[in-house]
């Protein structure tokens, strides 16, 4: 039996090569996820800075539904980045006290974590949950700007990812 494997080097080389390829692919996938997560955070960050949502969305080839434009609601999706459910809500009524918001629902496969959001926006505090969003955290940037994220599980649990991110900008 041993004779059949008297020269293991080619097999070892093959295994090492395959492992390297899998590792590279995994790393590539993770890097792509990171890039997409980072892109979402950049969208949120830019909105918080400028108060403009639509130009940035269009620059990313977002498909924007303008059915409710007169009411200030713009549902949108960006293929591979933000799922249906994402929306920009902008002021149309001066009497309204609701802030402008940009809501981002990460596309499937984007494992955006609370830690990644925290690296961009600072320290989060647990916020009261809503039905449908059991784990909610809030980042306060200043008195006019904040970010709320909903997580798929407890922040302490492995694999908890952001299911929704809302950038909030007071008028």
């Amino acid at each position: 039996m041993a004779g059949r494997w008297h020269d293991p080097q080619p097999v070892v080389r093959l295994i090492v090569t395959a492992a390297a390829m899998v590792g590279a692919m995994t790393g590539w996938a993770e890097a792509a996820e990171d890039r997409r997560g980072a892109a979402l955070l950049t969208l949120a960050s830019d909105f918080l800075s400028t108060g403009e949502a639509l130009p940035a969305l269009r620059a990313r080839q977002a498909s924007v539904d303008e059915t409710f434009a007169k009411a200030g609601s713009y549902p949108f999706r960006i293929a591979g980045l933000a799922d249906t459910g994402s929306a920009a809500t902008l002021a149309t009524d001066r009497a309204s006290v609701s802030p402008d918001t940009l809501t981002l629902v990460p596309a499937a496969g984007i494992a955006l974590t609370l830690e990644a959001v925290a690296r961009r926006f600072g320290k989060a505090a647990r916020a009261p949950a809503l039905p449908g969003t059991g784990h909610r955290y809030r980042f306060v940037l200043d008195e006019d700007r904040s970010v709320v994220v909903d997580l798929s599980g407890s922040a302490d649990s492995t694999g908890a990812r952001v299911t929704k991110l809302v950038a909030i900008r007071e008028r």
Binding site: A69, A71, V97, V105
Partner: protein
């Protein structure tokens, strides 16, 4: 996990064994079939039985008392209590008229519940719970039984006047529907809820749509109510579809009213407004409105919700809502726990008024 045909963001979560509708969740099936089979005409009468606001229902088909209780979001015990002067209550026939509660809210009695604990949790006087449910000997029924929790006094969106006026506005919208574009329909709904909120000093909420097709959530962080775009975008809306949206908006509008009261309580106690996570305009309005006297029945009721969200009940509340969203199947117990949260019990009770008034 939560049924995948339900909007994950919907706060008025359907029961785990429900038919996917968020209304009439005490019932079964499609949530509207009862309107065909029961065929009960409802007429509001502005009467009270005990301290329970009621409306009048005319029986068109023979049905059981328990079916009626289920359809009106109450208990057989409360139906009997509200109709104690009506000898036909145990032998209902087509054409009979009975009194049903205007509110729709029952919660399931759990192991360890006492009248005292329920009174404290919900801010409802013990005597009120006894009277509203006709509890013999002043004792709670056994665990698993249902009881109705109704505050001693109605206020805001919980009043019959507010709910009736709102229903009238939405019915007017029904007639104009096809002449309006989706944005205008949304605006009309927004106006309808905001007129009732304004009467209590609550700043106007913003109704927004998401692209997910789901909807029905009040987000206190933005003071917005998210509604489904599907019905609003559709011409030729049915009465049932509009009722569903109207009920949703009213339920969520009640949450807006609750959070405004929570802000008033929080700020009056000298706690940092920033802890609330609410928009500046809401905080300002709450500050101007001043505190709520916590020594009144009304104050105790509002404070029970504040304690649930921002006080001693916060950890329990987060755990309860976390269990609904942990990726596993929602159990009956988890759903019942959600419905027992004070602010949800109240919103279901008040939002349910729209259903009980709609066909009047």
């Amino acid at each position: 996990m939560i049924r995948n045909d339900l909007p994950l963001a919907a706060p008025r979560l359907a029961p785990p064994n429900g038919g996917g509708r968020t209304r009439a969740t005490e019932g079964e099936g499609d949530g509207y079939g009862f309107l065909d089979t029961l065929r009960v005409a409802v007429a509001t009468v502005g009467r009270k039985g005990g301290d329970i606001p009621t409306t009048r229902a005319t029986i068109r088909d023979v049905t059981s008392l328990s079916d009626l209780a289920e359809r009106y979001g109450t208990t057989t015990g409360q139906l009997i209590l509200l109709n104690k002067g009506n000898p036909s209550i145990f032998d209902l026939r087509a054409g009979d008229t009975i009194r049903v509660p205007l509110n729709r809210q029952v919660v399931t009695v759990q192991e360890g519940d006492t009248l005292r604990s329920l009174s404290r949790t919900y801010g409802i006087p013990r005597d009120q719970i006894v009277e509203a449910n006709g509890l013999a000997g002043g004792r709670l029924p056994p665990p698993g039984s249902q009881i109705a929790l109704v505050p001693a006094a109605s206020y805001g969106l919980g009043t019959k006047a507010a709910a009736s006026a709102y229903v009238a506005d939405v019915k007017a919208l029904e007639h104009q529907w096809n002449a309006l574009d989706p944005s205008e329909r949304l605006q009309k709904l927004e106006d309808a809820i905001n007129e009732r909120l304004a009467a209590r000093g609550v700043p106007p909420v913003n109704l927004v749509v998401s692209g997910s097709g789901g909807g029905g959530v009040y987000d206190f962080g933005t003071h917005t109510i998210e509604v489904s775009s599907a019905v609003l975008s559709k011409d030729g809306v049915t009465s049932e579809e509009l009722l569903d949206v109207a009920d949703t908006v009213y339920h969520e509008g009640r949450h807006a009213e609750q959070w405004f009261d929570m802000a008033r309580i929080h700020i009056a106690a000298g706690r940092p407004a920033a802890d609330l996570g609410m928009p500046r305009g809401v905080i300002r309005a709450a500050r101007e409105a001043g505190g709520i006297d916590l020594d009144t029945a009304r104050g105790r009721f509002a404070n029970a919700m504040y304690e649930s969200v921002y006080g001693a009940g916060a950890a329990h509340r987060n755990a309860t809502l976390g269990a609904l969203n942990d990726g596993t199947t929602v159990t009956d117990a988890e759903y019942a726990a959600y419905r027992r949260l004070p602010e949800e019990a109240d919103a279901w009770r008040v939002g349910g008024m729209i259903l009980n008034l709609w066909y009047g």
